[in-house]
Symmetry: C2
């Protein structure tokens, strides 16, 4: 037995998404069948629109629907600081904090020899272009605290320090609200290494 | 900070699906961004098609894109038996077994006073209409083994027995491959009650 073709196709499309197996896909497809038609059409339009109306910002390489993106357009920010992140999601996480007032650069990935991603596959050339005039004084490397992120940070640091720009790395340590007991050794050792005087 | 509008809209659409929270929705939306455009368009078309091209079979009330549905069109089946299920998913599960050769009737729900669903809200009238001539000899009630399913089975049984049609209920008992130790008391008691002679 088979599902009617429209349902089978939708189940197939859902299974292509990460973390969605055939049973969940079937459940979602039957849910769509019961949704209001307007909502389903909005969903379909949103899918296509994401593919068609988004591109990389010509300055910071963030994903955007306007060029330059809304952050690069914002003249009230501190133009002497650029925070380098791997993905748009990371930028959103930092923006949610509402404390950082500089600009961003989104690498759209990290150096990963295992996956065959070298410095040329991510947006490093675009970053260097932004450092051409002497506006930028500090580059904050906020790539992920894992092997690829660290390797990318190391690479960028060596590449950019000769420009005479201050290159910093976000701190590693215990997450706030975390439990010392459950911290892994590397985090603990980084937390010790990065200890600061109390004032 | 916000996501660019097309992404925000897609995240919003994904969050409307059952079991998908904002974090998963964001992950799925970014995945869509990286999918091939053709696949995304197929996905969008599948969504709309499910809403527009599916309807209830005029005979068995199954969801279908042809009328009558492919099962009701199949003249090789045994027309004296109808198996009553709650949902298309249940029908698919039974068909996967490849052993049942009769026709189906899909109630599209179960009687549930708690949710305000009475006999008129599910496809019972359509079922009675099929019992008008004397073709059908047996009605197998394969509604779910939970309160709503049992109530529906009980209701149908009382309603249809006076027609002189054999009304049966699928067996309750221990699932094959299950562990007696972990079975709940109701299932165990049903398994005992339904015990059969070994031959």
């Amino acid at each position: 037995m088979y599902y009617p073709e429209p349902i089978a196709k939708l189940i197939d499309s859902f299974t292509r998404l990460p973390g969605i197996g055939p049973k969940t896909a079937a459940r979602l497809a039957f849910h769509v069948l019961r949704m209001e038609e307007d909502n389903v059409i909005d969903f379909a339009k949103a899918l296509v629109s994401v593919k068609r109306n988004l591109f990389y910002c010509s300055i910071c390489c963030n994903i955007t629907d306007t060029d330059p993106c809304s952050i690069c357009q914002d003249k009230s920010r501190n133009e002497t600081v650029i925070c380098v992140v791997q993905e748009t999601k990371d930028l959103v996480a930092l923006e949610r904090m509402k404390e950082f007032n500089g600009y961003y650069h989104v690498l759209q990935g990290a150096i990963s020899p295992m996956e065959g991603i070298g410095p040329d596959q991510i947006k490093i050339a675009e970053l260097l272009r932004r450092l051409g005039d002497d506006t930028v004084k500090e580059l904050i490397l906020a790539t992920n605290p894992n092997i690829e992120g660290e390797a990318t940070a190391m690479y960028l640091s060596r590449l950019i320090k000769p420009f005479g720009i201050r290159v910093t790395r976000i701190a590693h340590g215990l997450p706030v609200g975390g439990d010392l007991e459950y911290a892994d050794e590397v985090t603990l050792s980084k937390a010790l290494e990065g200890r600061r005087e109390l004032d």
